[in-house]
């Protein structure tokens, strides 16, 4: 049994402190303690990428990272790159390309692609495939996702380079969606109207 320790780190741009057991997975701390449920668990052994977050500007599978090793790190989750009415360029491109089916893998893909574009704003098609190779999607044929990321990079490169990083995280800006304005209610649609759902 490991003892409770105090961990200080940056989470989605804010300094946070948590007292917890050192051997808990970052994934569980994000989901259970911070209620950031956009980060998903698909395999728990680092194979599927559904739990991908960005730690110190690199894509990391949070099911393999222990909270004890997060001291002083900068952690960004899907909630940190977007809010329901403000998407980052990767997410916008994914929407435009309809590169989502069941959506369970999507946050992980967004985080891997965002990390890629932070490091390499001008990736080739092959580089995108390699960067996404740790993320499994069982619904799409990947093509729409890869096309979307490629497109996001192309679009971003036409923007002012100084703005680029700011655009990726956390504020979106950039070109508008070709769709109707986003209306909030459909974001958290849960049928059944159960009063017990936890809001996060």
């Amino acid at each position: 049994m490991s003892e409770n320790i105090e961990v200080n780190f940056r989470l989605n741009g804010e300094n946070v402190t948590i007292r917890t057991k050192a051997n808990r997975r970052l994934l569980d701390v994000l989901r259970d303690d911070f209620h950031l449920t956009g980060t998903k668990e698909g395999c728990s052994i680092g194979e599927c990428g559904a739990c991908t977050v960005i730690v110190d500007r690199k894509a990391v599978t949070s099911c393999l990272m222990l909270i004890g090793s997060c001291e002083g790190r900068d952690v960004i989750t899907i909630e940190g790159v977007s809010s329901p009415d403000r998407l980052n360029p990767v997410q916008r491109a994914i929407l435009e390309h309809q590169a989502i089916q069941c959506g369970f893998c999507t946050p992980g893909f967004v985080m891997s692609a965002t990390a890629l574009l932070m490091e390499n704003p001008n990736p080739t098609y092959e580089e995108i495939k390699v960067a996404l190779s740790g993320n499994l999607c069982r619904c799409t044929g990947y093509k729409q996702i890869i096309d979307a990321i490629y497109d996001a990079a192309q679009q971003a490169n036409r923007a002012d380079p100084a703005e680029w990083d700011r655009n990726i995280i956390p504020d979106s800006g950039g070109r508008p969606l070709p769709w109707q304005p986003l209306n909030k209610p459909e974001v958290c649609e849960l049928s059944g109207g159960n009063e017990n759902e936890e809001q996060s």
């Binding site: 956009g38 089916q101 369970f104 967004v110 190779s133 999607c137 990947y142 649609e189």
Partner: protein
């Protein structure tokens, strides 16, 4: 392109892209406990004793003794127990559930539970099984005579292996029993299946049970029957402890104990006389696993498709599904069709080689035509566009030049090109739509002139919410945001049937279209109106009779042709897919991007089953590779250039002319992949998947095909 085909933004994309969408694992109810199932570690045995660990207050074990109703889960027959009643029939079968407030502790107590068994005899080889679950057959003409007279007979056994769904979201449900009412919610395809099963297990009145489908992270058939089992388990658990109980599997558990695609051993004989195929005799064996679950209908669909799209003068098809002590096999996109189509397609390749003909041209030659009698003595009522679709793909892929260029290769890298042509029968098999499902649909116009779609269809990624909304909005001439559709909840929606069999658009979509037309005609601004539509069986169909296995099993079919081009590295045995083409006739495409996404994803799944996806059982009947690092599914690096195109047609009895789409791309992919390997290696092959190791064995002369 018809205007309805123009893509719109999917209804749930914003929530999914931003991480706000709630799947069952994201839902926390007040006072909720967690459940972990203790599962059988032997493939066949009688439970002698169960020893629970000491558990603090608040933790308990839920067993068969706690079931208020029947200990049988209704699927087709009712033979799968909720919790074992004493005997276990596969590794992973549920024995009891440990329930408590702390997830980790619950898992620890489940691990510490000791179960002793008296071992019983096991059977893992379906050929040696002494329990036949189902058996059917049909025939036409004097096939015996044709074989007796044949110049030559091709006689082969073709094998199609297990396939795991590997949906990214594992199975999970919550049971919430309070004040005499039970709610079951979570990841599922068929809320009313769960409702029916749980009602009997709980011995409750139907109106006291409510089932809600939450966001569902992929299904592919894997969440068709299984949630009826898990739903019963969480229902009983919540009833016992009086609090909500959530049970979400981990990946190993999911692969170990949930359904797979049926392995199939298929012996085919083809009689050849004067350069013509005169008869086919197919003997099919499906491995059903430990319980019947869905094997009955899976086998039926497999047998119906056993002769592919072809017309032969005489034939016999016979098949059975048998019991083995492995996890029950069930629904997987294609539902028994991909196996037999695979075998028939390979036989066509082998026949072509024998007859000195091109495989693609031979397919055109034997393809059935509109008006022909179908193998089950029904009729092909509509155009069969396969020859045109084959030509379309041949041109797009430069097939005829390549097939010549790829002859007699000798270098390290050898290329091959393979073809398949298949169909998927639209909707439920046989008389299911008319006799079992009897779909009901409602359209509710509210006083504020918004319209709500009330149907039981679950959006598990296939985009059905978006498509349904589009159909209603288009007919009504309303902007899409005035049409509302949310995840189904059995207390609110009528039973429009399960989300299976590629039936949602064609069958339920048709009801939506009809209801919307009526509503439009009767529209009263500012008033509340409710329109109900019921399934109407197409009157042109020749009635299906299961006893004689004859009639029209489906109103129409969706058609598909595939061409796959590979490059084999003969030094390492590695196969790289260079290109994969798919041409699909799904009637009117309701939303182009959605259907393209479905076709690409389904094709890649089928290609995965061709080369890399293999479930590995050990001698004790345990699945060895129960993780995603050992059970390999295609990644972004494996994806070839995918070329999806459509053949235009309209099915008069579908909404806007649409027919079935979802399963179609899963039917012919692996056959064209293996065909390409056959072309590259210049040999006949007999199985899917054909792995790198298989290729090495072949190249080193350690196996024939």
């Amino acid at each position: 392109m018809s205007s309805i085909s123009q893509s719109v933004r999917k209804l749930d994309h914003l929530a999914k892209a931003s991480g706000a969408a709630k799947y069952v694992e994201d839902i926390v109810l007040d006072d909720m406990l967690y459940g972990k199932i203790v599962r059988s570690t032997v493939a066949h045995g009688k439970i002698r004793s169960i020893r629970l660990p000491d558990m603090p207050e608040g933790y308990s074990a839920v067993t068969a003794a706690d079931i208020p109703g029947v200990n049988n889960v209704h699927i087709v027959q009712d033979d799968h127990p909720v919790f074992s009643g004493g005997e276990v029939n596969y590794i992973g079968e549920a024995i009891l559930m440990i329930v408590g407030p702390d997830k980790r502790q619950v898992a620890k107590f489940a691990r510490a539970t000791e179960v002793e068994y008296d071992l019983l005899e096991t059977c893992f080889d379906p050929k040696k099984s002494d329990t036949t679950f189902y058996e059917y057959g049909y025939e036409e003409g004097d096939w015996r005579e044709a074989f007796a007279e044949a110049d030559e007979v091709i006689d082969e056994e073709i094998f199609s292996a297990h396939q795991e769904h590997a949906y990214m979201e594992v199975q999970g449900l919550i049971g919430d029993y309070r004040n005499g009412k039970l709610t079951v919610r979570g990841s599922m395809q068929c809320p009313f299946y769960v409702h029916m099963a749980v009602t009997a297990v709980m011995g409750m009145k139907p109106e006291d049970v409510n089932v809600i489908a939450d966001e569902t992270g992929g299904g592919f058939g894997g969440k068709e029957d299984y949630p009826s089992i898990l739903g019963s388990q969480v229902g009983v658990a919540s009833y016992k402890v009086g609090k909500p109980v959530k049970c979400v599997f981990d990946r190993r558990e999911d692969i170990t104990c949930t359904s797979k695609r049926h392995p199939a051993f298929m012996r085919y004989r083809i009689a050849i006389k004067d350069g013509k195929m005169t008869a086919v005799d197919a003997d099919i064996l499906y491995d059903g696993g430990g319980y019947t679950t869905l094997s009955m209908v899976v086998l039926q669909r497999g047998l119906i498709g056993a002769l592919g799209i072809y017309k032969f003068p005489s034939y016999r098809v016979h098949g059975k599904a048998v019991k083995t002590h492995t996890v029950p096999n069930g629904a997987f996109r294609g539902f028994g069709g991909p196996q037999t189509f695979f075998a028939m397609e390979l036989m066509m390749n082998h026949a072509a080689r024998k007859l000195g003909k091109d495989p693609l041209e031979l397919r055109k030659e034997y393809c059935a035509k509109q008006g022909d009698m179908s193998p089950t003595h029904g009729v092909y009522h509509f155009d069969i566009p396969i020859p045109a679709m084959l030509d379309q793909l041949a041109e797009a892929s430069d097939y005829h030049r390549k097939v010549k260029a790829y002859r007699n290769q000798t270098g390290r890298y050898r290329r091959g090109i393979g073809v398949s042509s298949v169909y998927h029968g639209c909707g439920f098999t046989g008389a299911g739509e008319r006799d079992l499902i009897k779909g009901v649909f409602k359209l509710h116009k509210r006083a504020d002139d918004t319209v709500e779609i009330l149907a039981a269809a679950v959006d598990m990624g296939q985009g059905v919410k978006t498509t349904f909304r589009k159909i209603a909005a288009n007919v009504l001439g309303l902007p899409e945001d005035r049409v509302i559709i949310v995840n189904p909840d059995t207390a609110r929606v009528p039973n429009s049937g399960p989300t299976v069999a590629s039936r949602s658009i064609m069958v339920v979509g048709k009801l939506i279209e009809r209801a919307a037309k009526r509503l439009k005609a009767e529209w009263k601004p500012g008033e509340d109106q409710l329109i109900t539509e019921k399934y109407v069986h197409p009157d042109f169909m020749i009635p299906w009779d299961l006893a004689t296995f004859s009639g029209d099993p489906y109103p129409d079919s969706s058609w598909s042709t595939n061409i796959v081009e590979v490059e084999v590295d003969t030094m390492l045995g590695l196969t790289k897919i260079l290109n994969a083409w798919g041409c699909y006739d799904v009637g009117t495409v309701i939303d182009e991007n959605i259907v393209i996404g479905q076709m690409e994803g389904g094709l890649l799944q089928s290609l995965g089953h061709g080369g890399i996806e293999l479930i590995n059982y050990d001698q004790s009947g345990r699945i060895r590779n129960n993780s995603l690092s050992d059970y390999i599914v295609p990644t972004a690096l494996d994806v070839p250039s995918l070329h999806v195109m459509f053949h235009k047609s309209e099915y008069f009895n579908g909404p806007f002319g649409a027919k079935a789409a979802g399963e179609l791309p899963n039917v012919g992919g692996s056959a064209s992949y293996i065909g390409a390997l056959e072309c590259a290696l210049e040999t006949d092959l007999y199985q899917t998947p054909f792995s790198t190791e298989d290729t090495m064995e072949l190249l080193e002369g350690r196996r024939n095909g």
